[in-house]
């Protein structure tokens, strides 16, 4: 088990180091996310009623689009110079590759969200301290990364990969996005933990389902 986790973390640290060197994904996705937030901020009236109505949607639309941009690169980077084949030739089960790439995507998205969140809260005149929102973001992003990594591997083998990923990915990830938007809505509109709990349970359930199923089917997706 320690060896298994060691291999997963080796892939994760390799991705982290590679991204740290180039900042190719983080910089473009971060810029995109900030621009979307700013555009939405200009597009809507900034009175408290409007903010309560639109802010949850704005936040998750931003994360969803930024996430797809980020996911599109997850396996494209590996396809360059045949590195994906190099990974697949390693004497590990295919699910090790899945977990390594999934954790890389998750951490990268969380880093981007950590920067975007304060900007969003400031621009929409919301309190800066919202720990419940962080929990929802973590669960939503986990569900997003779990199934996104799988579909990114699938799309990487197609010619029109930039178009293919959103088309096959969005319908599947909809339950996670809906649950995250609803939970965020309750947080921003003074909902209670009790009111939120059913959406959190849905998020957790879909996270578990997506993680287990994605890890199981990954080898069939990645092989020819």
């Amino acid at each position: 088990m320690i060896n298994y986790l060691g291999k997963v973390m080796t892939i994760f640290f390799k991705d982290l180091l590679s991204e740290f060197r180039t900042k190719a994904v983080a910089s473009s996705v971060l810029l995109f996310a900030i621009l979307v937030i700013i555009i939405f901020n200009f597009a809507f009236e900034s009175d408290s009623d409007t903010i309560g109505l639109v802010a949850p949607g704005v936040l998750w639309v931003t994360f969803t689009f930024a996430g797809v941009l980020s996911m599109n690169r997850t396996f494209v980077v590996e396809k360059e110079k045949g590195c994906l084949e190099g990974l697949m030739l390693c004497p590990v089960s295919r699910d090790v590759l899945y977990w390594g790439k999934m954790i890389s995507s998750l951490v990268l998205m969380l880093i981007i969200e950590a920067v975007v969140f304060p900007i969003f809260l400031i621009l929409f005149d919301l309190p800066l301290w919202m720990p419940r929102l962080a929990i929802v973001a973590l669960l939503g992003t986990l569900g997003f990364a779990s199934v996104g990594t799988l579909f990114s591997a699938l799309a990487a083998n197609t010619k029109a990969r930039d178009m293919a990923l959103p088309i096959i990915f969005f319908p599947v990830v909809v339950p996670v996005i809906i649950a995250a938007v609803k939970a965020t809505d309750l947080i921003l509109n003074s909902g209670t933990w009790h009111e939120m709990s059913s959406w959190l349970e849905i998020l957790i359930a879909f996270d578990v389902i997506f993680l287990v199923v994605s890890a199981l089917v990954f080898e069939f997706v990645i092989e020819e």
Binding site: G6, T10, L17, R21, P91
Partner: protein
């Protein structure tokens, strides 16, 4: 499962191996046996199925039919054990441009559980003559240097079997000559080597045994001892011309 490679008859053994893509057969009942320590060059024109065969032998692609044993391990039943015993060099390097040569080797070394990794990295990088470039990013290496580093990556875990898929592609004459010298040391090290190429002279010089693959079938196979280059070229042209 056999753990002792010396107990098995062939290093690579394929029987009735077929592979299809959407009903189109790229490999049609391949039978191939390679002894331990033998270097076999597999020639064929573009689209003959050379890369597909290497992909199946390296567990990257699943065969439709047939049985393949690599170092005595069935590729369908024990793919992870097969991958541990093979080193693969392709026209693609499997190297990350953003990482240094050292970081690339360290990454793959960890994935293969290479013992005494730091020393092993020094050994293999010295073997391919890139010790002075160990801390440089791979992205700034020439194509020839990248291919040498790719060989270092492939032998890092000291595999008994090497599968080389057109490794000379894109190399100039000098880089190809350097690659040949490196590959000769691999063969001299008693590794089993299966090499695919469409460069007749280059493959002929390296191999003990020659085979020709045309339209997914091995149409010719013979020891190099009984041939000279001219005769082999005529044979190759006849095989390829007759089937294409």
């Amino acid at each position: 499962m056999s753990d002792d490679i010396n107990d098995i008859k062939y290093a690579i053994e394929a029987k009735g191996l077929s592979k299809s893509f959407g009903g189109l057969f790229a490999l049609k009942g391949i039978d191939l046996s390679i002894n331990e320590g033998e270097c076999v060059a597999l020639f064929g024109p573009n689209g003959a199925g050379k890369t597909t065969l290497i992909k199946v032998l390296t567990t990257l692609s699943r065969p439709a039919n047939g049985k393949v044993l690599i170092a005595g391990e069935d590729i369908k039943k024990n793919a992870v054990a097969v991958r541990r015993r093979i080193g693969v060099v392709s026209h693609q390097t499997f190297l990350y441009d953003n990482l240094t040569a050292y970081e690339n080797l360290k990454f793959y070394g960890k994935m293969y559980d290479v013992p005494d990794l730091e020393q092993r990295i020094v050994d293999v990088i010295t073997k391919v003559g890139l010790e002075s470039r160990l801390r440089d990013r791979v992205g700034i290496f020439s194509r020839g240097m990248q291919q040498r580093l790719s060989i270092a990556r492939a032998i890092l875990h000291d595999p008994p079997i090497m599968l080389l898929d057109e490794p000379e592609t894109g190399l100039d004459e000098q880089a190809r000559s350097t690659l040949s010298e490196l590959l000769k040391t691999l063969v001299a090290g008693n590794r089993t080597v299966l090499l695919t190429t469409h460069n007749l002279e280059w493959g002929f010089a390296l191999a003990d045994r020659l085979a020709i693959l045309v339209k997914g079938k091995i149409v010719y196979e013979d020891s190099k001892q009984s041939l000279d280059m001219t005769t082999f070229r005529e044979t190759y042209n006849r095989c390829v011309g007759a089937r294409s």
